[in-house]
Every structure is written in structure tokens, then in C-alpha cells.
Subunit: 226 residues, 2 copies
């Protein structure tokens, strides 16, 4: 019964969707299941690279902390997405911590098991290269934003990036948005209040709904060139 569920989860991922039933079964056999409550840590930055994980249900945030303890959200992942893979492939400690946002069920696959599976299924490598390429592209865009854009543009871009992935209803608090954009809660609030006045967004506690994506896009481009 559990195995049936596992195979369904694996089939639903971008990376493994191309495998046939026998291969999915094999992979499911290698995996183990774990469940976490909301706000639990699945692993911490610096831990040994034991396993990589695939989200069966729920959401997690990937976080790093500055030298002063300020949190920065590197990424948000939900069902069907993989995390912890960078550490596994390089056999080095995890580069970030992963914390659940809601109650979350994950499939874990141990490092050695996954690497040997990968050796037998080279087409999966190409999928992984694709996923990593996309993440690198995102990371470089965010680097450029953090280095060169003002807070307003960064916040607008963060919201646009999120809405492109999960739709116009963003289930995030202002603090989370700030932690993704490299600013503070207060600054995020001030900016959001501004957007609300102008009818660009609507919001309730812990949720932001984008009403006018066009205006938001204009804002993300910066002030009209002088």
C-alpha cells in the first residue's frame, strides 16, 4: 500500500516521469518515507549528505543564515520537487537547511543507492542536468537583482517569479517575502501597503493576491527612465 503511493509520487516528478513501471518500482524500493510536522527541519546546513529527498506532499523552504543570524530563503519547493541533491552529488555537506512550511511527507533516497541507480539509468542524468541548469539560471537572476536593483524592484520581481510558478495567489507572509528578497519585514510591509493602495495586490493575513500583473511588471523594471 505504501509502495503504491511511493510509485505514484515518483511518477509525478519531472525527473522520473520517463521511467517505466519496473524502474519506478526499483527506485521506490530504494526509497524511504518520512513525515514532518510544520516548521520542522529536515536537515541543517553542514549536515553530512546522507540522502536526497523528493516531496510527496507539502512544502519546504530552503534557508541560509547570514553571519548576524538573518534568515535568507534560497528556495521554496512543493510536491514532486527534489532537494538535497547538490550535497549528494558532490559528497559534501548540505549547503543550506531545509524546513517544512506545512505538514510534509517526503521520500528519501540514500546517497549510495541513488548514485548506483543513476549509473544504470543515464537518461535520468540529463533530467537532473536540466533541473540544476534551471536553478542556476534562477540563482543568477536573483544575484543580479540583489546586486543591482532597489528593494521595490526586488520585491516586485520576487512576487512575479513566485506567481509564474504557483499562480497569482501567493501563500506567504510579508516576512517570508522579505526573507526571499533580501530586505526586512517592515520595508516589505511599507511597499505592500503602497501596492495595495494602487490596486496592484490584495492581501489577507499570510496571503497575497496579485490583481494587476502588468503594473507589477512595470514596477519590476524600475522607475521610468529619466
Amino acid at each position: 500500500m505504501q509502495d503504491i503511493k511511493k510509485t505514484g509520487v515518483l511518477k509525478g516528478t519531472f525527473i522520473f516521469s520517463s521511467l517505466n513501471d519496473a524502474e519506478i518500482d526499483e527506485l521506490a524500493g530504494l526509497s524511504f518515507e518520512r513525515t514532518f510536522a510544520a516548521n520542522e527541519f529536515i536537515f541543517h546546513e553542514g549536515d553530512a549528505p546522507d540522502s536526497l529527498y523528493i516531496i510527496a506532499q507539502g512544502q519546504v523552504k530552503v534557508v541560509k543564515y547570514s553571519s548576524q543570524g538573518k534568515e535568507f530563503i534560497v528556495a521554496f519547493f512543493s510536491s514532486g520537487e527534489m532537494f538535497g541533491e547538490v550535497a549528494v552529488f558532490q559528497n559534501r555537506h548540505y549547503p543550506a537547511s531545509v524546513q517544512t512550511a506545512t505538514e510534509t511527507r517526503v521520500l528519501g533516497i540514500r546517497r549510495r543507492d541513488f548514485l548506483s541507480f543513476l549509473a544504470d539509468h543515464p537518461e535520468i542524468s540529463l533530467k537532473i542536468i536540466n533541473v540544476l541548469s534551471g536553478r542556476l539560471r534562477d540563482a543568477q537572476n536573483r544575484l543580479r537583482d540583489l546586486a543591482g536593483e532597489r528593494v521595490e524592484q526586488r520585491l516586485a520581481r520576487t512576487m512575479l517569479m513566485l506567481s509564474a510558478r504557483i499562480g497569482s495567489a501567493l501563500p506567504f507572509t510579508r516576512q517570508e517575502l522579505a526573507d526571499m528578497s533580501g530586505t526586512t519585514t517592515e520595508t516589505a510591509i511599507r511597499f505592500m501597503a503602497n501596492l495595495k493602495e494602487r490596486g496592484v495586490i490584495r492581501s489577507t493575513r499570510g496571503k497575497i493576491i496579485i490583481l494587476d500583473e502588468v503594473k507589477l511588471k512595470l514596477l519590476s523594471e524600475g522607475p521610468p527612465q529619466v
Copy 2:
């Protein structure tokens, strides 16, 4: 004669060093050679993903521009390193521009040629996954720094990262250092003047030499916790 050189270049890369002579020859046959003067662009952000490149000789910088035209240096690469691969694997436009820093000779491999070579040599995929993982790790560290650290720490960390890769003599101007750290030339100069006074670095025009890496590391950790 040219082909001999090509094979030597390919053998000298992390990614292809494990191939045997016949395989190297095959790959060399697929590649083409191009030479650029200093400060020429090899491709621009947004160009179609024609080829990926390997540096035979010279150095390049990977740059992106903010909405206000400010330059941000995503990475520096030198002999034996690969660039343009993200676009090739995803078959999407290049995510950044690449400009030579010195006179540079590169080997290019066309997208289709490389993908078919990769299909026949799955072990290379694992190497590429390793390279991409490392770059992702770096990018995430820099994101955390840009989001959470002060300019002084960012500059110190940039210098430490560079010195770990290329040694304690850094062939960069203050402007380049600023463009890697997400700050301005003037701010970088002020900080460097400070470091010079304290004997942490020595510098001539366009070059910085780290004298006291321990002090620099302390600085990169931020002010002593109060």
C-alpha cells in the same frame, strides 16, 4: 597541428579528463576554435543557445546588467573551464553575456553535437552534474551574502573566494571587485584603502595581493559579536 592542440585542451578539463584518446579525438573533431581579443563579447544574454565553450587560453567574465545598466559579474572563468552550458542543456537563450578579459582562445561545441556525444558517454553527465552543483552552491552562498551581509563583509568574502580559486594575487581592478560584490567602485576603494592601512592587502593598479588571509577571514565574519 590544430587538432593536437584541441585534444590537449580537452584532456586538461575536469569534465573530459576521464575520456580515452579515441573519445577525446572524437570530441575534438566536433569542436571548432575561435580567438577573441581582450574585452570582446563571445555572446550576449538573450542570444540563441548555439554552442557551449571551453577555454583553451585566457579568461572571461560572465556578466549581467541591471535594469539601470549597472554591471554585475556573475563569474570569472579561465583555462579548462566551460561556459554557456546552461543554455545548451535547456535549449533556451543564454542567461548572461560573456566577455573576454584578455586575449582568449576557446573551443566551441555545437549544441546538437554535444548532446549526441553526451548520449553516448553517460559518465560525462555525472561530471557535468558535479560542476553545476558546485556553481549552484557558490551562487547560493553569494545570494546569502548579498542579502544579509554588509558591503565590507561582501568584499572580503569575494576576495577570499577568488583567492581560494586563483591564489593570493588577484588580477582585478577595484571596479571589477565592486561589480562582483554588488557595490560601487568608490565604496570598494574606500574599503581597500582601509585594508591597505591595516596591512591586510597590498595593491598596484589592477592587481590586489592578499597579505594576511587570517585577518581578512575575520573581517568576512562580520564585526565581533556585541
